[in-house]
Symmetry: C2
DNA sequence: AGAGTTGGTATCTTCTGGTAAGTAGTTACC
DNA sequence: GGTAACTACTTACCAGAAGATACCAACTCT
């Protein structure tokens, strides 16, 4: 008894958790996921495993501090794995877990949206500033 | 001549902009979109227009400062519109634009992912901390 | 011997976000 | 007549987070 299907569990989860609620764990998780570096790291890893310095080069402008910090929290949360090869010099590979891959599609979709709609956003900004100048 | 289809323009945009590049406008836009309050506001508006105080109640824990700030930048970027009704007391309605609705699906997908996978993330954290305690 | 590679840590400064309080303009209550 | 309430904000302050930069240790290559 008490057999639940994956669909039933998802349905239950949808009611049990509400990201709109403060102090709800999902609210905090959403805060973690809503991070520029998280989006870029996960997008960069969606093509396969990469090394630390690979990521540093691919993600322009990321400081070693923020890259390490982002990778650590993503590892802790089960989004990616960290594999150390004790060669000389040491080699560290980061790779998405199945959980991470299920997220990667969503985050890269947001990144792609930004790339595809940047011009519309830019146009909207110009309209806004023109209207503001006329109003003020 | 020089007729381009929407698909061609999208393809062009994909090559012209790269969110991995620092100082690329899309990188900055991704930074704006990767925001907890942006996700929650857009998700809250995806069901239809809402008033300021509606949003405040729905999005628990948001301060008036951050709500106003988030709404202003989203208005400026053409994601939503702000409509003032000069009644007494004044009434302000916020509504997603078509551009905003095209984004809403992606951001609510991330929010729903957080709600659906929070338990896996939680389990991963416990495993991580156990492993850490054994290692240390 | 000196530069370059690896994967980071330490430190300092700048900036952002949360808290709490105040504002304006009208209406309702006592 | 005073004051409380409702609306949609604005402002000042401060702790904590983010960002830039310098540095580290071990080794290889030239």
């Amino acid at each position: 008894m008490a057999t639940t299907t994956a669909a039933q569990r998802r349905e239950q989860a949808r009611y049990a958790y509400d990201a709109f609620m403060r102090d709800c764990p999902t609210n905090q998780l959403l805060g973690r996921l809503s991070d520029k570096w998280v989006s870029l790291v996960v997008a960069a890893l969606s093509g396969g495993p990469r090394r630390y310095s690979d990521l540093r080069r691919r993600i322009a402008g990321v400081s070693p501090k923020m890259l390490t910090q982002t990778l650590r929290t993503l590892e802790r949360d089960g989004i990616l794995t960290r594999a150390v090869t004790p060669s000389v010099p040491v080699r560290v590979d980061y790779e998405l877990t199945p959980l991470g891959r299920s997220l990667a599609g969503l985050l890269t979709a947001v990144k792609d949206w930004a790339e595809e709609h940047i011009e519309e956003v830019h146009a909207a900004r110009e309209r806004y500033e023109t209207a503001e100048a006329q109003a003020g």
